[in-house]
Symmetry: C2
Subunit: 343 residues, 2 copies
DNA sequence: CTGAAAGCGCTTACAG
DNA sequence: CTGAAAGCGCTTACAG
């Protein structure tokens, strides 16, 4: 097993192919192919002989050649705006783990805000990706068009789309806001604020709608709204604005956990506010840090694993039936009550 | 341009190929290939005619077919233990951005601790990856062997390797510990502790060595060492142990920023310690959060961008000369002084 | 500068 | 159950 074989050195060292294995096993090249195709009709003895030969040579089937022949690459393109956002990192991790179960892998397309993303994502087509999953980014109409022409489905996680061909999966954004408002109301809060993400984020909008509409139903109309730009520091600045206002809030709903962390820190450290007595805070996502003792954040969950699962399920359906209309699914979340809200 | 053409519908909708483009442009298929190969000899007029035809058809070169023909996939496999660790997410982001500049992309291989990683990573060979970059994981000897046989270089970021064929890039681990110790000494600290990562982490070991050896040179021998398991909560627990001990430290060096955050929170919230007066803290990495006002952490940087750049540079060298010996490079970091240490 | 042809390493009807 | 052969969509000597 471990003996070094100095024999059969070939001049140019290239990876062994089916033909090499066939030669060693004394069978045809097609037999080798069958040995590695499950469900193919091949005698058990032949297969074993082939597997042994393959192992001896260190043979690994060339998946690119296979893809060329089968027109299925088992590559899923993942466009991810910002890997450094732990929520999306978690989604990516989940996608990767779940896709692996069906032998598929992720080809990564990261982008900064400044990039022209279209030409970049067209490369996914060149790589013959079976599908494109996008997180926190939207497909342009032109891009969607190209993908539709190529028969490659697109599914967006956490972003709406008005484009006909684009499928979407998202969390319960409206309900997140609604539930947050209800919870605050139940705990007798009086002054409400909302820390939004960005102005263009449909996700943030929906959360805001659920929040203010629920408050409005309870005759609360003056909800302060500030923008945290979906970042810790942005939210920290927004929080400073809120706490310095003439009417500082005692209940703050934030469109993401990360922004909630920023608000929480500023409240505690810069304004010496007690949480949840002086001010209560609710986030959205339930990232791992939310449960850390440092934050102990009440939050409306947006389960990365479920989002990933649903996205993959949509991909599978679209591949199975390419003429199918885009699929839009909502994934349920729930309010996880922790120490940043009153008991 | 935007008119819908209902003509030339083919029965089975498949992506257009070079032959399709050739037919439309009235040239040979090889001419089309040349039009998309830079440096190929082709008349300007021909090329333009071809590009126009390609655009009309929505042609995207099939990179898998190209890879098969050229034996270069332009795919780099990235094995990443834990994408949710922001430092490694940052490294992944950097790698992705930098590789894109040379038209290469990342095929993602995530793993949980429980996985058998070898069979998973062998798939990188099947995908004909041009190289394998690993972060926070080590290649087994068998894996390294297989890759060497296939002529595919492996480079590890942030993990040592004793295996001959494996290249490595790492930060200045020993120096991180040394500099942290010196800084504490300069600020007149008396009681020192080290929050290590895991027992098996060579990175953590090196940092520890630099720290305790520097302290030892200054006649400080009793350094408390606890394990934070490279996690926020693990470090929080370790910190509780330290602050509850008979001789609580006034200077704590942590093998990662994330652990430093855990320590910092526990110090502040559970033990009401003032930072940096009662206890000073230094981390390693300089993740984005380190500069947040919540933490304002003094830390020894480990620049993700530089690590990524160096890793790619090694990959390129190894590909250019496959018989070359493994390359091992250290990437410089520096102490970033912030508010968690005394002025 | 251009085209015809072989080859990259697979899969998959087809015939036996 | 097995092999010979065509084809997947490219690149690249070779000849002109």
């Amino acid at each position: 097993m471990n003996k070094k074989k100095t024999t059969n050195k070939r001049k140019i060292r290239r990876a062994p192919t089916e033909s090499d294995v066939a030669r060693l096993a004394g069978v045809s090249q097609s037999a080798v192919s069958r040995a590695f195709t499950k469900g193919a009709s091949i005698a058990k003895a032949t297969r074993e002989k082939i597997i042994a030969a393959a192992r001896e040579l260190g043979y690994h089937p060339n998946l690119l050649a296979r893809s060329l022949a089968t027109r299925r690459s088992n590559i899923i393109a993942l466009a991810i705006a910002n890997l450094e956002n732990p929520f999306y990192a978690q989604v990516a991790q989940q996608l990767s783990a779940q896709l692996r179960e069906t032998g598929r892998h992720i080809l990564l397309f990261t982008s900064s805000i400044y990039d022209e993303t279209d030409p970049m994502l067209e490369r996914a087509l060149s790589y013959q990706a079976d599908a494109l999953i996008m997180t926190a980014t939207k497909a342009s109409e032109q891009l969607a068009d190209q993908f539709k022409k190529a028969g490659v489905p697109i599914v967006q996680i956490n972003r709406e789309s008005k484009i006909a061909g684009v499928s979407t999966v998202w969390g319960e954004n409206y309900r997140a806001g609604k539930v947050a408002a209800s919870h605050f109301l139940k705990k007798n809060h009086k002054n409400f604020a909302f820390v939004a993400g960005t102005k263009i984020s449909s996700t943030s909008h929906m959360r805001q709608q659920g929040y203010i509409e629920t408050l409005a139903k309870n005759n609360i109309k003056n909800v302060q709204i500030v923008y945290g730009e979906y970042s810790f520091e942005g939210a920290a600045n927004a929080a400073r604005k809120l706490f310095n206002s003439k009417n500082p809030p005692d209940a703050i709903f934030c469109a993401s956990d990360y922004m909630a962390f920023g608000v929480l820190e500023v409240a505690r450290r810069e304004f010496a506010l007690k949480i949840p007595i002086d001010v209560a805070i609710i986030g959205v996502d339930d990232v791992p840090e939310a449960s850390h003792s440092a934050y102990d954040l009440t939050t409306f969950s947006q389960p990365a694993a479920a989002l990933a699962k649903e996205a993959i399920s949509i991909v599978d359906k679209m591949i199975a039936n390419p003429n199918r209309r885009a699929i839009r699914t909502e994934v349920a979340g729930e309010l996880i009550i922790r120490g940043s809200t009153r008991r």
